[in-house]
Amino acid sequence: MSIVTVQLGQCGNQVGHEVFSCLCRDLRGTHGLCSRRENQSYQDACRERFFCEEESGGPVARAVLVDMEPKVISQTLSMAARSGFWKYNEHSHFCQKQGSGNNWASGYSVHGPRHKEAIMNLVQKEAEKCDRLGGFFTMMSMAGGTGSGLGAFVTQCLRDAFPTSFILNHVIWPYGTGEVIVQNYNSVLTLSHLYRSSDALLVHENDVIHQICAQLMNIKQISFRDVNQVIAHQLGSVFQPTHPAGEGSEYSRNPLGDLMEALVPHPEFKVLALRNIPQMPENSLAYSTFSWPGLLKHLRQMLIASAKMEEGIDWQVRPPHPGPSSHSTNKPLHFNTSIANLVILRGKDVHSVDLGSFQDPSLYTSWLNPQDAFHAWKTPRAFNKYEKSAALVSNSQFLLKPLDSVVGKAWNMFASKAYIHQYTKFGIEEEDFLDSFTTLEQVISSYTTL
């Protein structure tokens, strides 16, 4: 089954480009560390998922690029083509001239309806190229105007046009100390709207990735390209093919469906975080060896202590004692309670790994059976030159604090009515803001009382 990616706004397009580059590089990599046959299946599965073949032979990304101003898309298209290894379809993009001005209302209420037909036509075309459509992966940031506002509108349109398809929104959470002054308003409006039409929101926080670049990747002058490459690596480690049903089974044909099934048991809880291990500069890879127990021990602690990365983990945090009254107030502070977790393992000796520690019931709420709350996908085929790598996609309280912080700041600004005139100008009224605040306070409350 194939996934159609929709890249929205400057961020969505810049990150999307890095993702396809990463997938392609991994495909061509000779460090698969597995049998030729295994590698072949992996490559076939990856191609089916993300690329279609053109007559000219090279892989063409299954993607639609959307932006309300032309510079980024034209850059993205030419960078991909220049790589010589893959490209975008030269017709699968839509742009306008004047941008959305960081205004969610402009993206949602003006550009959305105006360009709905053109954009959905492009999506339809890409969907038709798939033998079987596995769903949509939309990429956007919350802070600006196009990715956020138009992104929310397009997600709604996708839901209306493809009611039975899976929609996964990849959302970039902006730096806490602004990139955009009205980013908190835009974020609140985006999240509340996405919550209604999307199946799940997979979040990457700029602050977290920035720290990874600084501390783990040792990059001195971190650029957005660096940040986007780390994000792409993390996404690749989740979405490259795996055998969800264990050794000897086929590569999964339905990654989005499998993801939703594993992680989203209840529509009130849709916010997913992503962590991976190990993460290091490429030139250090040759000098490092890892053991699965070591990696998984760190990954598990990253989960329960809500760590940003594999350094600086708080090892003091422990799961609560299991007992008859595991009421939320008895849970120790800072412990990250999970609803469901998914661990993806790639590389050497993957099938002999013991994942018992992730199935510990004390990590989870009591709603699901422990065996339903935890899933593992594996492949012996190594990813992106890492001999062993593990990724964690978690539906837990990882994003509770950031969410609460964004809503708090937005509310603070809303109380003074600052900038509201910029939104009402395009048809988003105070009432719409209040609705969004209510939706998100509900989500916060739900995640808090896990």
């Binding site: 101003e69 990139e179 955009v180 957005f224 509310w411 603070n412």
Partner: protein, 475 residues
């Protein structure tokens, strides 16, 4: 890609405008080596085929044939505009973009606004329409004028009004040069306050400039160059100090160098809209992020660094200095000290080899010494443009919506009241058709209201912060 049109009004407006077009051409020439008419160029220039004699059709792609500025030059005297048309920029403008008269406005806002406004209204509208028709997607009008005289102030604000009526969807950014205390035009307070009312009501964003600040900055640059402290590392032909292409050589006040600074301001403001970068900042984003309430749209600007550095790979220390300077009082383009006043919002547009980590590091470093309003504690808007200005490896434009504009307005009001109380020179104004005493009282009232809004904000500074309580959800 969108287009912008520059409307330069009056002597000051046209002199600054002239510097702007010169620098814009230079900037694009430095970036655009192949001579292809690209989208970046089209934001300010048309490309026309002059072979068919005179006004040929616009050429949208391919080689540059003849560039014409998207501009309107308006002056009620002929001196300045004639000089421009005889100078090196003569081919960039054509006669259809000019509106001139002979007798000037006599430093009288009423003459500019009411008399000439009425007289030239149709002509101006027609020319504006023509200019707009040549634009594929017109996003912004830049008005350049001074506040203290008659034409720039009066006719300039008349045009501002006109733009709102005729092109309501297009942004109006106004660069206004405010008179200093020792201004030799006695009636400049009247003209400025009358113009302020128009700016309050009809502009989207105003970038106030004071000649005193420009003068001080130019002196600083000259001192640096002459002191030899920086030795051979200083290039003398940066766009900031460049005098080549200007009509005059030496003047009593270094107006050309001063005007260069304002021209650079406009170039940098639009750089992220014209050129690529990892975090674009378009003009509509500037208005969106920096104007929290419609009337509070006055932005204090600063440009750093002021000198060129010879080596391109600058160690981070120098880079950080650029950020520090952007917030210092002597780099602001008006007499103001943003550090000791209250920030409502702040934008940083960086050009050149600067990455997001440099931005973040400096924001973290400088934040503690700045006061932000309670509802916008992290009120930063940032932009990264990859193309540096000519002669520099990087540069920074800081735009602040800060209560430090207040003193400028208060002083203006005081100077106004001094004259108004004595009814000095009022008859010159009241004798103009359409001018009444109420124009004056309304104008000063509008200014007082604005000052009051800033006062109220200042009152919240440093006070105890009680965040409003959040919505409660029934569990």
């Amino acid at each position: 890609m969108t287009q912008s049109v520059v409307v330069q009004v009056g002597q000051c407006g046209n002199q600054v405008g002239c510097r702007f077009w010169d620098l814009a051409l230079r900037e694009h020439a430095a970036v655009n080596k192949k001579g292809i008419y690209d989208e970046a160029l089209s934001s300010f220039f048309r490309n026309i085929d002059t072979r068919s004699g005179g006004d040929g059709p616009d050429i949208y792609k391919g080689k540059i044939c003849s560039l014409k500025a998207r501009a309107l030059l308006i002056d009620m005297e002929e001196g300045v505009v004639n000089e421009i048309l005889q100078g090196p920029l003569r081919d960039v403008f054509d006669s259809k973009q000019l509106i001139t008269d002979v007798s000037g406005s006599g430093n009288n806002w009423a003459v500019g606004h009411k008399l000439y406004g009425c007289q030239y209204r149709e002509n101006i509208v027609e020319k504006l329409r023509k200019t707009a028709e040549h634009c594929d997607c017109l996003q912004c009008f830049f008005i350049i004028h001074s506040m203290g005289g008659g034409t720039g102030s009066g006719l300039g604000t008349f045009v501002l009004n006109l733009l709102e009526d005729e092109f309501p969807e297009v942004y109006r950014f106004v660069t206004s040069v405010y008179p200093s205390g020792e201004d030799d035009v006695i009636t400049s307070p009247y003209n400025s306050v009358l113009a302020m009312k128009e700016l309050n009501e009809h502009a989207d964003c105003v970038l106030p400039i004071e000649n005193e600040s420009l003068f001080d900055i130019v002196n600083k640059i000259n001192q640096m160059i002459n002191s030899g402290k920086l030795g051979s590392t200083v290039k003398q032909n940066s766009l900031v100090t460049s005098r080549a292409g200007s009509a005059k050589t030496l003047q009593e006040k270094p107006f050309d160098a001063m005007n260069n600074i304002v021209a650079n301001l406009l170039l940098n403001l639009t750089s992220s809209a014209r050129f690529e970068g990892s975090l674009n900042m378009d003009l509509n984003e500037i208005s969106m992020n920096l104007v929290p309430f419609p009337r509070l749209h006055y932005l204090v600007s600063s440009l750093t660094p002021l000198y060129t550095l010879a080596d391109v790979n600058v160690p981070s220390r120098r880079l950080d200095q650029m950020f520090s300077d952007a917030f210092s009082r002597d780099h602001q383009l008006i007499q103001a000290d943003p550090k000791h006043s209250l920030y409502l919002a702040c934008a940083l547009l960086v050009r050149g080899n600067v990455q997001v980590s440099d931005l973040r590091r400096n924001i973290e470093r400088l934040k503690p010494s700045l006061h932000f309003v309670s509802w916008n504690q992290e009120g930063w808007k940032t932009g990264l443009c990859s193309v540096p200005p000519v002669g520099h490896s990087h540069s920074l434009l800081a735009l602040a919506n800060n209560t430090c504009v207040k003193p400028t307005f208060i002083e203006l009001k005081d100077r106004f009241m001094k004259l108004y109380k004595k009814k000095a020179h009022l008859h010159h104004y009241l004798q103009i058709d359409g001018m009444e005493q109420s124009c004056f009282s309304e104008a000063v009232s509008s200014l007082s209201d604005l000052i009051e809004e800033y006062n109220e904000l200042d009152a919240t500074k440093g006070g105890p912060r009680t965040d409003p309580s959040r919505l409660k959800i029934a569990v």
